[in-house]
Amino acid sequence: MPPVLELRGVTKAFPGVLANDHIDLTLEEGEIHALLGENGAGKTTLMNILYGLYKPDEGQIFVRGEKVDIHSPSDAIGRGVGMVHQHFMLIPVMTVTENVMLGIETIRNGVFLDLATVAKRIREISEQHGLEVDPDAYIKDLPVGAQQRVEIIKVLYRQADVLILDEPTAVLTPQEVEGLFKVLRSLIAKGKSIIFITHKLKEVMALADRITVLRGGKVVGTVTPQEASQEKLAAMMVGRQVNLVVQKKLAKPKGVALEVKDLYVRDERKNLVVQGASFDVHIGEVLGIAGVQGNGQTELVYALTGLLPAVSGTVSLLGKPVRHASPRKILERGVAHIPEDRQKHGLVLSFPVHDNLVLCSYYLPPNAHGIALQENTIISTATKLVDQFDVRTPSVYVQASTLSGGNQQKVIVAREFSRPIKLLIASQPTRGLDVGSIEYIHNRIVEKRDEGTAVLLVSPELDEIIALSDRIAVMYKGQIVDIVPAGGVNRKYLGLLMAGVKSAEALETTPRTTEEAEVERVF
């Protein structure tokens, strides 16, 4: 029996990077095949080729032994290949039914959309595969887990035999991940085949039948979970022996740096997304806020940095109230902020590197005397910083857009760390970065903590939170549900809280800490 899918010698280059280098991959019928690699290894590019979004420079694709040319998503769909993207391809202002039928609309009376028939079919699929969803709901009203179910239904509606899932667990709580795995296993039982892209070692070991590791655009090897271990896989992904533990001393917190009490914040659509959050961050400690994205963390950070007005509550920085301060005043009081979206919020990409490095301090002496900028001072400061923070750039004069993701993040870190800061707020500081940069940023954060800065870390990556934090707070639906010491914390407990189970309830079934104090690095 020929394999369901085979890729031979697939190659794709973009200016400056060889994303896929003669990749061979086979997918057997009825298997879950994991595609593992760190950020930038070429996994998504490969799947985009398979799905018809990119054209390969070289290479062939075979479906059940037959050579095919896939020029567009329609071709891929026609061949029974469906893709659930990492960033959902759903239209928020339309309903589930409209999103599912888009592109292959059913028509009645020759002209009009037939929503009823499609809704009926959606309910059928929903029941058949255990994917609970309301066809008439608007996407913008659905929680993230439900939106993912809609994406899967979209693919099944088009009668896909092969499902490609790109980093599907990034937005799920540990319990939801279990639920997803159950659905995937049941799909396999019904005869589908699945390719599963991820960078998370644990999931791969739990779910996959076979694992292909990509590194730098090349296939490093294909193994089964039985043959491999997490350490072996990590080494394959990164190309060297990896130390899976963050080296850090115990924290010595002294005094409260940031005190947040009963904070209420509305988002841009006027929904109350932070509902009475209360927590403290001490000088010299890292407080990590864990939680699935969309539970108010983003708006919490905006309120703390002055970008969104809080409705009520108090925020004090070293005793002084700060809730009504403008973003500039907050920065001046010694708050540094690494934003979640570095290109949107962190940098002006078309400004040269030196201007980006003074984006927060351009108006202060010695960078300016009155309103006149002191260019020479700015340039020399910038040169020093680039050296100090190991930013790989041809010069400080080039546009920030020419830097790689990791180096762009280093510019932001350099900028923030070069000011006297009392509180560092880091939102998803290592999103989309390669291992080397992740290592670097983590070390810098721990360094700052040891120097006496208070650090508030917000990240949906539970592993990162556990690795770096001294205490962990879980945020669910705009409230801080519980705060636990990080040493020896039990992931299951955190997972339950992240899913909305109340602390008291969760404690009935799971202990807060585990016996082994194993701390794992993020991959």
Binding site: A13, P15, E58, R328, H337, P339, L349, L373, Y397
Partner: protein, 427 residues
């Protein structure tokens, strides 16, 4: 693609792109050359397209082609004749006739009589006179672009500025060292208010400045209609203001009928000031940051609202100065249709000059020469002055879509990050 081609493509480093203002790297002149190339070619191509339109609408050419088979030579020559007449008139209108100039110099050398010399340089100075308000209004629009704001209201701001400075000019009697600055200030202030209103609306409600500034234009036209036929009307029948006092004049450099005045130098000084403001001050830094990435600017503590209002106000002030310079330096009174064309022209200017003060001055000079010549083109060759708008439309498109010029002339220029000009509606 072959394997080695693929490897080659991957080998091009993305760091090959660099900002044109990088100091000392990659050679200043080759940088300047590259930045100038596309706008220069755009102008040339625009003129070519304009020529085509002139040809196909020329009565003589059409007549000649009717008789193509009887007199083919004439028919083939006719287009060239038409263009030659038209652009020839354009040239002498802009620069003056070189022949006349030489003769005039000879006369002056011989007899010391400068009358014919003055006459010979008249077209050239007239072009500079035409360029002066363009410099101001081009700077106005360019400043807006730098902050991501599209100020189409330059025409209305021009008119209001002209009226305000005219009012101060004719209604008060003071010594010139008070009167002239006050009149200029009044013009700037009038324009500033006219710009601040849409700026404020944009900052606070998010209403797009494109529609609002256009509406302010039409309101300005109606307002000026009323003022010129009512409260500000001079004695008599024509809808014009009284002539301003001579203590409010911008001094003329030469004697009549040359209208070249100090306004030109004022414009250059203001351009230098705008350059310093944009690139060497903290305020300018903020404005450019907000224009490039308002989200990051907010994160870094900058106030978007304040910058929007500031920029629209300054932009309006510059456009108001354009009007003021025209009144105080050239016409000395204001009539209907005073601001005609300046609004859209300044957009073309700012685009052509890449929103940089130096570029704007160069583009303004170009437009000044075109306008100067266009009047003559209309009187001598009978080409309606509107052809200039047509050419401008083409030029804007070519500058905004450099890919077209590159395609026509088969250029391969390294791509540089273009200024993001605008976003959609609302915030």
């Amino acid at each position: 693609m072959k394997s080695k081609d693929v490897k080659k493509k991957a080998a091009t480093k993305p760091a090959d792109k660099e900002e044109p203002t990088s100091k000392g790297k990659r050679g200043f002149w080759s940088q300047a050359g590259q930045t100038l190339l596309i706008p220069a070619l755009s102008v040339v191509t625009g003129l070519v397209f304009g020529a085509i339109i002139i040809i196909i609408t020329d009565a003589h050419v059409l007549a000649a082609y009717k008789n193509f088979f009887s007199a083919p030579g004439l028919a083939l020559l006719a287009p060239f004749e038409a263009v030659f007449n038209a652009y020839g008139a354009l040239f002498t209108g802009s620069f003056g006739s070189p022949v006349a100039l030489v003769k005039a110099i000879q006369t002056y050398a011989a007899t010391g009589d400068n009358a014919s010399l003055l006459k010979a340089i008249y077209p050239f100075t007239e072009s500079l006179v035409s360029a002066t308000p363009y410099i101001f209004s081009g700077l106005a629009v360019a400043l807006g672009f730098r902050c991501g704001l599209f100020n189409i209201g330059a025409e209305g701001q021009f008119f209001i500025g002209a009226l305000c400075s005219a009012y101060v000019g004719y209604a008060f009697k003071m010594p010139w060292y008070f009167h002239l600055p006050l009149a200029l200030l009044a013009g700037a202030l009038g324009g500033a208010i006219w710009g601040a209103i849409p700026g404020y609306l944009k900052a606070v409600t998010g209403a797009h400045e494109v529609v609002n500034t256009i509406m302010m234009n039409w309101i300005a036209f109606r307002l000026s209609d009323w003022l010129l036929t009512g409260p500000m009307m001079a004695a008599g029948f024509r809808p014009v203001t009284p002539v301003i006092q001579d203590t409010a004049f911008l001094p003329r450099i030469f004697s009549d009928p040359l209208r070249f005045n100090a306004g030109f130098f004022l414009a250059l000084a203001v351009a230098a000031l705008v350059y310093w403001f944009l690139f060497k001050t903290t305020l300018g830094f903020e404005i450019r940051a907000v224009g490039m990435n308002p989200d990051a600017a907010r994160y870094a503590g900058m106030s978007i609202v304040r910058n929007f209002v500031l920029v629209m106000t300054l932009s309006g002030a510059l456009a108001g100065l354009a009007g003021a310079s025209q009144v105080l330096g050239v016409d000395h009174w204001v009539g209907q249709g005073f601001s005609a064309g300046y609004g859209f022209d300044s957009i073309a200017l700012a685009l052509l000059g890449k929103s940089h003060p130096v570029g704007v001055v160069l583009a303004a000079l170009l437009f000044g020469f075109l306008r100067g010549g266009a009047t003559r083109m209309q009187s001598m060759a009978g080409i309606p002055i509107d052809i200039i708008s047509v050419i401008q439309g083409f030029v804007i498109i070519f500058v905004a879509a450099p890919a077209i010029i590159r395609a026509i002339y088969r250029l391969r220029v390294a791509r540089v990050e273009e200024t993001v000009l605008t976003r959609g509606w609302g915030k």
